[in-house]
Symmetry: C2
Subunit: 888 residues, 2 copies
Amino acid sequence: MAKWVYSFGPEASEGDASMKNLLGGKGANLAEMCKLGLPVPAGFTISTELCTYFYDNGKKYPEELRSQVETALVLVEEAVGTKFGSSENPLLLSVRSGARASMPGMMDTVLNLGLNDITVAGLAAKSGDERFAYDSYRRFIQMYSDVVLGVDHSLFEDILDDHKEDREVFLDTELNAEDWKLIVERYKKCVSEELDEDFPQDPEQQLWGAVGAVFSSWMNSRAITYRALHDIPQSWGTAVNIQAMVFGNMGDDCATGVAFTRDPSTGEREFYGEYLINAQGEDVVAGIRTPQQLTIHGKETQGSTKLAMEEVMPEAFLELDKVRDILERHYCDMQDIEFTIQNNQLFMLQTRGGKRTAQAALKIAVDMVEEGLISETEALTRLDPASLDQLLHPTLDPDAERNVILRGLPASPGAAAGEVVFSSEEAVDRATSGVPVILVRVETSPEDIHGMHASKAILTSRGGMTSHAAVVARGMGTPCICGASDLRIDYAQQLFTVRGQVVKSGDFITLDGATGEVMLGEVPTLNPDLSGDFSKIMEWADKVRTMAVRANAETEKDAEMAISFGAEGIGLCRTEHMFFEAERIIAVRQMILAESAEERRAALEKLLPMQRDDFTKLFAVMAGRPITIRLLDPPLHEFLPHGQEEMEEVAAAASVSVSDVQARARELSESNPMLGHRGCRLGITFPEIYEMQARAIFEAVALLKKETGEAVTPEVMIPLVSMPKELAVLVDLVRATADKIKEENGVDFDYLVGTMIELPRACILADAIAETAEFFSFGTNDLTQTTYGLSRDDASSFLNEYAKRGLIDQDPFQSLDPKGVGELVKMAAEKGRSQRPEIKLGICGEHGGDPASIDFCQSVGLDYVSCSAFRVPIARLAAAQSALKANA
Amino acid sequence: MAKWVYSFGPEASEGDASMKNLLGGKGANLAEMCKLGLPVPAGFTISTELCTYFYDNGKKYPEELRSQVETALVLVEEAVGTKFGSSENPLLLSVRSGARASMPGMMDTVLNLGLNDITVAGLAAKSGDERFAYDSYRRFIQMYSDVVLGVDHSLFEDILDDHKEDREVFLDTELNAEDWKLIVERYKKCVSEELDEDFPQDPEQQLWGAVGAVFSSWMNSRAITYRALHDIPQSWGTAVNIQAMVFGNMGDDCATGVAFTRDPSTGEREFYGEYLINAQGEDVVAGIRTPQQLTIHGKETQGSTKLAMEEVMPEAFLELDKVRDILERHYCDMQDIEFTIQNNQLFMLQTRGGKRTAQAALKIAVDMVEEGLISETEALTRLDPASLDQLLHPTLDPDAERNVILRGLPASPGAAAGEVVFSSEEAVDRATSGVPVILVRVETSPEDIHGMHASKAILTSRGGMTSHAAVVARGMGTPCICGASDLRIDYAQQLFTVRGQVVKSGDFITLDGATGEVMLGEVPTLNPDLSGDFSKIMEWADKVRTMAVRANAETEKDAEMAISFGAEGIGLCRTEHMFFEAERIIAVRQMILAESAEERRAALEKLLPMQRDDFTKLFAVMAGRPITIRLLDPPLHEFLPHGQEEMEEVAAAASVSVSDVQARARELSESNPMLGHRGCRLGITFPEIYEMQARAIFEAVALLKKETGEAVTPEVMIPLVSMPKELAVLVDLVRATADKIKEENGVDFDYLVGTMIELPRACILADAIAETAEFFSFGTNDLTQTTYGLSRDDASSFLNEYAKRGLIDQDPFQSLDPKGVGELVKMAAEKGRSQRPEIKLGICGEHGGDPASIDFCQSVGLDYVSCSAFRVPIARLAAAQSALKANA
């Protein structure tokens, strides 16, 4: 008989932390904590396999489930010494979902299950606190009705608000037992009216309803969206954790809190957390009351006036601090824990790996290596390369003027500016049209995930560092300021005020997530300063990785920045970027307007010294590091002006008529420029262009050699090859030019000639192409465009719809499509090596900075990846992880 | 020791017809004729291997060549009874190139080699004809100087013209021995002046000079262009044929001629040829004198007033007629022969398979089957499927008014109209910009190949049916009229006159190549009537082929035409073609301008009955034959108007403002529409469009079933799929729609849903796609565009240059690229079948009508090809040939 239910408790646990797939993260860790002897209320987990069974069998349970649950329930009753449904000594339960991967805020929770009109009296008697009992009951009705019965929770909030208004009070704590009794009656009436049936009084019925609701919530649209965004398969399913309730809201010797074993924002080895006296767990997370700090240090740092737990409940705090130590030593990682203090007694409700900022992740990883908790390679695998991005982004210029209008909690670091928007829909809309937006809300909820993704930063007026907004923003690496209590938002008027100052939708503000400051307007930013931990991690990564990391760069400045980020060379120097500078665009246009090869040569003569100078400077910066230089790629019409005025300028400069310029522009215009007269096709039809470029490169090499004796080995790259013959012809041209320059200058030098592999046909014929190509650089941007038949410039109009409908997991331009594009890359790598075993293989599309794509590159054995300078550290770490994975 | 030289002659021959690769076509057939006992002047062939050696070894000969040539020369001297270089009895030689494949007019020829100031006297004495001897000598000097020494031949023509003017005569025949002696001296002087050295007097030196010139001519630009155009590898090389001269110009009992064993224009079993009394072979081919007919029948048919050879030289004619019969029975094919009559004695100088019109090829093939010469399958393999195109093109409407201004020889059949151009350069220029042109020249030469290719028809004032213009035009399938002697061309004024009537460059004329008539203006044409021979061949082809042939068609008219050409179904019905008709484009545009799915649905409601009606009619015509219907493919902006006026019309019709229409057009415009929001991407984002189309199809099926009981099995095709999920979603939509319509109408019907495979990613993931696709139809147009990264609309600007530089053998849009695109097709076919063994595979790109591509389709095992209606017969024959080849 299949086993669906796994018990845990102080006596014994059937699960442990290794059983996450079966029990979900929460269930496995509850069992593990029991094994560690930590105080965990008894309970049991219904496994994820049941979720799968449930959906595979028309939402039915297996017969044996009921008896297994009953058996487990008895164990809980025995451990706690209460009885489910008892009128005197009722066992109350929490029912929580718990999937394999953390899905924060996505799944619904029910507390205080087992209460009804009878057991509530038992609870009141047993606790000696009628107010507590009815408050618990009304919480249960509200939660259960919302989550299980589908009654809109705002109805309950309205009832409560109305009552408080009648009673002229502001805080829930000001209400007494009679108030809650009245409210319970009103809640039940509301349910009856909404559903045409009474709120269920039978605890059994309540339990099975809650279990069903958890499983059903696995397929609600928020969960589906979250899984789509995080690439979690539906088949994983969720578990259900059913656990004896403990109460943080049974009086002033009770409390509830959440904590991180280290500071999740900085990574400092400080116990970091918040708690609320006389409250249930949901109160902390929901951000309804602004919570108090756990430690005195925390209180001081935050400038809070409220007492720390360390002061209020010193004994419970000490016990909690011990648990913190045990958990860190056991898991060897920073933990995110939930606890409840019931009558001064500590209960652990959850532990899991804590979300942290990139900065914190880095510091924690490095510190833990130094503390001997983990190894260097473990530190490497534990970091999310993409999250390094946060450390590499600009911060506010400290010298810039700041008009600080508001302060809040520094919930997620990083600085960003954008237009104020007040709803997630608007955030998505305006971000889609390219506007940077900052989402301003009273508080956020799982419904806001899309809007938060679309925003540059998030600002809320309510909630603490562990509120929904803070947790999710940190996970996303989005700057966030929470609990800015001076912020008054008027959704209807689409504006907010701060002590009389009005900021409207569409106004620019700047957030500094590291300080919690909100500024009016757009404040200038500075490039990040990379800390010691960062360079330590990079050093470890460099020891481990087998692929080189290069940067895409054209200018001296870019190249210097790339080197500062650790780039080992330039993987893509796009020569056409050099064509756009003011003085030379004229010569470029003259070249394009030329009517014969001779005229074209004359214009190219003017460009030659400029290009040579570019390369001389670049070679000097790169100091012998490899540089892949791509010859002219874009179609010529990209260099022609479009406006009348500019046309006139060009005509004057080139001594031709405006109508000639227009005619040439018309002649060059293309239906599908992406598939047009560009890349090596220009080299074939206008060989004098490529000849000039090759000359500029080699003359720079010769010059450097003669002047400084330094040898540069440039890698000359021919783009957009689809036929082996195209490459052969152009390689001949490049080699002939090199020979001439060696002779003219009387120096010898080495160089490579190769090609960009960016068309499906080039992949298929890679063996024939490798006959002349000494290296391949995969141009996966264009390869993705042609393999999918998808124009990057035009795709946004429907790719969003595709993502929404679950047709694509990821934008194939962001992460390399392994099944289609990747298959071609693999084919080309294999065919290239079959022809020329020593062929150098790299990638220079934007995928070169994407960790998943880098992992793919490792799997097909590329020699290097190249990406934008800012992504070089990400690539270094990702390459290290891939190398470790490959060796595992 | 390598053998480089192969002798032939009346005694013995070292070669035969099977040795074409080694001896070239001409050499192999000369040897074969010797073996048949036909009168062939003795000679020898230097093999094509020597040509390869020559180019592989820096244009040097192997040492042993000289002695082998000397030995062979002795054999010729012995056979003929003369001696090379003898002052009394000199052996004269012809030196001709002869490659493996016929390269008409491409290679240079030298006659009368061996003549010098001394041997010419011997020739005069021996022949007793001093005039003949010196005429031969001046011909030799002229030819040798032109071909071997590179002296411009017009210099010699000027000398001759000047002399004739001085002597006040018009014809060469009016010149006597003294004239020729004088001219010889002037020619020699001219050579000395031009080259600073004397014309070579040493026969040995002459011989090696000529041999070298032949090998060198293999790499001249005309030869390179011809090879590029006809896909002949350079490595094949040419042979050199050295043969004892016989003379057609030694008096009035001498003649020279060319003939076809059957009429090359109609295929009639009539001996067909031309000859000139007292002339050398080059005179006939060059078209300088208009030749006489071989037979009385020919004379009468042509309305010639000159005597036929049959009348003038009855004995020699009878012998020639016997040779004709022997050759036809031996080669089992129509032969193109060259002969010379020397003093009433017949010598055969060449035989080869004769070029013929498509009509003639058909008739000859069918006749030869009936004559028992060849089998049905041999008849099939002998026809060039592409040439059938000529039979399928329109002819002049017999009822149309014709203003015939000129008559010439009907050199190549077919009718065409176009603007008059007078040079090949202009023909190419204007044709490139889309203007139909007719090339009008006095005569054509190999330099005109490009211009002839670009022209719709060719008209010359000089030359006969075997002139350069006629032979090349027939090979190209281009209508041609030759020897229109009333035509007076004034190149300088860019006009021609016919008896005072002036026609200028750019004026429209119409040619009927079948009758030789030239008409002013554009005369309406009629669709071709397919003759009995044609249908016989088609019948034989249908018996043999294994692939089905379908047509691409949308309208009833197209479908009827397709069936008349033998199409077995429709392989591609492009539903969007139905969208452009006047009444419905308004509804289409309303749909595009709709701002919501509801508005879109309302517009689609209007389209539904129209589309349903289209399908009802089409199904009726196709009478149960399969029809593949492609759902909407092009991007929506293609349906929007561009001009202001039209915009206003649309705005009015759709009750929106013009600026709304403009805004929508801007919104929909794309950088690369080919890779944009089209195909199934429309189906995903606007499912209501595909739903309407599926509804229209299935309602038509249901209607037909209910009204007539006839069952149609439509094949619904989803275009531009790149992801298996895309297809799955849309297949679900189509199936759900079919289910609804079955229920609504209470009828059942069958249908297939499949996809167009036209993107590289679809090929790579074809197995996953075949999970839902019941058929694949390869859209090789788009697959070629994406595999090459090549926009068909933009490629002409550089593909011509690619062809010129030998980078591409063929336009990949005309003939499927087997190495790249083909590899993907093969992969997709294999993967598709691996998932779904019974999957139906076809091709519907324009390659479906190209014989080489059809052969490829056979090789990967497609079930059918689909092409435009006019190419269906070509496809039927090509498919038969491919099936025969596959079984061989």
